[in-house]
Amino acid sequence: MKQKHLVLAVLVIILSMLPVSGAMAADIYKIGGIFSVTGRASFLGDPEKKTMEMMVEQINAAGGIDGHMLEAVIYDSEGDPAKAVSAVNKLIHKDKVIAIIGPSTTPTTLAVVNFTKRAKVPLISCAAGIKITTPVDPWVFKTAQSDLLAVAAVYQQMKAAGIKKIGILTVSNAYGESGKKQLLGQAEKFGIQVVLNESFGAKDTDTTPQLAKIKAAGPDAIVCWGTNPGPAVVAKNAKQLKIDIPLYQSHGVGSPKFIELAGDAANGNILPTGKILVTSLLDDSDPQKKVLEDYQKAYQNKFSGNVSGFGGYAYDAVNLLAGALKGSSGDKGKIRDNLEATKGYVGATGEFNLTPQDHNGLSPDAFVMVEIKNGTWTLLK
């Protein structure tokens, strides 16, 4: 009896590996998604996946694109490049998608682009790494703001606040490293001196040694570049050490979760973020306000969770793709061309103006600087 079950299980496994041979319905556009739904970067991948599912549903409910329904095939990369590669090949060769959204992180994106390029499938990444779109590859796009812009926004703010010397503290992963590179690279341009750069592990429970060291170096401000929950630990530690200089965070913590995790310690932290966090604070004249409100409402209705800026990357990616799909009749080359020609799309992240030279297409005003006060966001002008 037991053996029968085992044999059955083995059969199922084998069968599921066989090529699916059924003819695809002609009127469906299959688009792929690869997100870090679980694993270290699940805070990125989870909302992205949900948003993509929601958007596809919305588009289909509105009658699809040129009458074609969309079908989303989404795989979890777990933040692991090897798994992402596996997933991308599955999407390209098994599911035969016409375009791919994701992955969520820079390493996974860099790992998959080799395969999408070769297969000539347009890819819209949701990762921030600047390496993804510089140098420009014809088939690779991204919706997340580059670190370049985030750092620029931070430095702009610092310059205005008269901060000259900073200490930086970055998480030791791709995100932190990319941030560090930008922070170091752009500092001179803004007349800022980096007195010390330190790093911390994504799962570290304590960062006081680094902070104490930075404190001892006497900077005017500290920049922490990481994603939750590390920066919350940093914020808490900074408070314990009674560090009274401003603490700048990155857009990586741009979610209410950060305030929840860091508690009191979050107050006074300054960070660049997409406008999504501060939708209600935006001027009504801001073209993004309506888009963001719509997105937030829809998301909260469906998933009863708070919207984060990360879901917005997927939101924009789906919308960009939807726009490009129009009139493409499913031809990948056409989709690519259409994407490259997208102008003035106002999304959750910012206004996109894609060109053959710029596959991100965002301008620095995609970021606003916010400060956390009394456990909530306030806009800094």
């Binding site: 599955k90 820079t106 790992a111 790494g129 030791s172 490293e177």
Partner: protein, 319 residues
């Protein structure tokens, strides 16, 4: 007796070669070829660790380090310095063997959990080194720009070409392992397997032997890393961390220790399982953990032995 056994092995090889070629020639879907390619790469890793664990009883929780060393050496040499990848392969293997020698010398004097801890620490150090030496390795963001493998006019890209390359190497690795086991070293290995004290008593320098096998498995790990790097063309430290070390150990144990086919089976199961479990989305981890536990609880000798036992009992039940 001996010739019989030899013949039997050749038949095994023949079946293996036929099956691999048939799959490669029939399957056109790159996805399946790619999965098979990963299985092949993991098999090479498993073969190396299997030799170490199965025959010398040494557990390495840092084997991903050699995988990483192989991958990064070739990436840096061929990507940054433009050296011919095949030459880089030689360097990668040499680097892995050298490091294995240096590390193994003191580490392999440890035993049991302390050895596990030692190897684990080594794996961690290598991983951190890769991440922190950003100028050379690309750091945590990963290394971009690994060239595609070429041999004359042949270009090994994802798909059938790479598939055959990897499995040819798997085949060679298998034969080398088998040869090694049949040799004097192999006999000594089996003696160690039966009891280290006994092996020492009959004059085997167990430490040197362990070191030898450690270096050998490091070399195989480096080859696997080389293949991985030139296949995915992008590498980042995350692929070579502690969890991957555990995964390799799991592959070996699940497949069955001290068995060449066990390495293959273990690699296949651990590579395929996540693919299959994708369908379970959020429940994937739970199911994966469960399968791991159940297999180990009911087939502690690994799947190779477990399945053979099952067939035997089934046959007996029918008889």
């Amino acid at each position: 007796m001996m010739t019989d056994k030899k013949k039997y092995i050749w038949i095994e090889y023949l079946i293996f070669v036929c099956a691999v070629s048939a799959f490669g020639l029939v399957t056109e879907n790159t996805y399946y070829l790619q999965i098979m390619t990963f299985i092949g790469i993991n098999t090479i890793l498993g073969l190396g660790l299997n030799m170490l664990m199965g025959y010398t009883g040494q557990v390495s929780l840092g084997h991903a380090a050699f995988y990483g060393i192989g991958a990064y050496t070739t990436a840096i040499l061929s990507g940054t310095y433009g050296i011919n990848p095949w030459l880089a392969l030689v360097c990668a293997v040499a680097a892995a063997v050298l490091i294995a020698f240096i590390v193994g010398l003191p580490t392999l004097r440890l035993s049991g959990y302390y050895l596990a801890m030692g190897t684990l620490g080594f794996g961690m150090i290598v991983n951190i080194a890769i991440r922190e030496w950003a100028d050379v390795t690309g750091g945590a963001s990963g290394f971009v720009g690994i060239p595609v493998l070429e041999a004359g006019s042949l270009v090994f890209m994802a798909g059938a070409g790479y598939y055959f390359l990897v499995w040819a190497i798997v085949f060679v690795a298998m034969i080398i392992c088998r040869r090694l086991l049949a040799s004097r070293t192999g006999r000594a290995l089996r003696a160690i397997h039966d009891g280290e004290k006994a092996a020492v008593a009959i004059g085997i320098n167990t430490h040197f032997l362990k070191l030898e096998i450690f270096m050998f498995s490091a070399a195989l790990g480096a080859v696997a890393g080389f293949l991985y790097a030139h296949f995915v063309l992008f590498i980042s430290p995350e692929s070579f961390g502690f969890m991957f070390s555990i995964k390799i150990v799991t592959m070996v144990v699940i497949g069955g220790m001290a068995s060449v086919w066990g390495a293959l089976l273990g690699a296949a199961v651990l590579t395929l399982l996540p693919e299959v479990l994708h369908g379970f989305a959020e429940y994937e981890m739970i199911i994966f953990g469960l399968i791991l536990m159940v297999v180990m609880i009911f087939m502690p000798q690994g799947l190779t032995r477990g399945i053979m036992d099952m067939i035997r009992t089934a046959r007996r039940a029918r008889a």
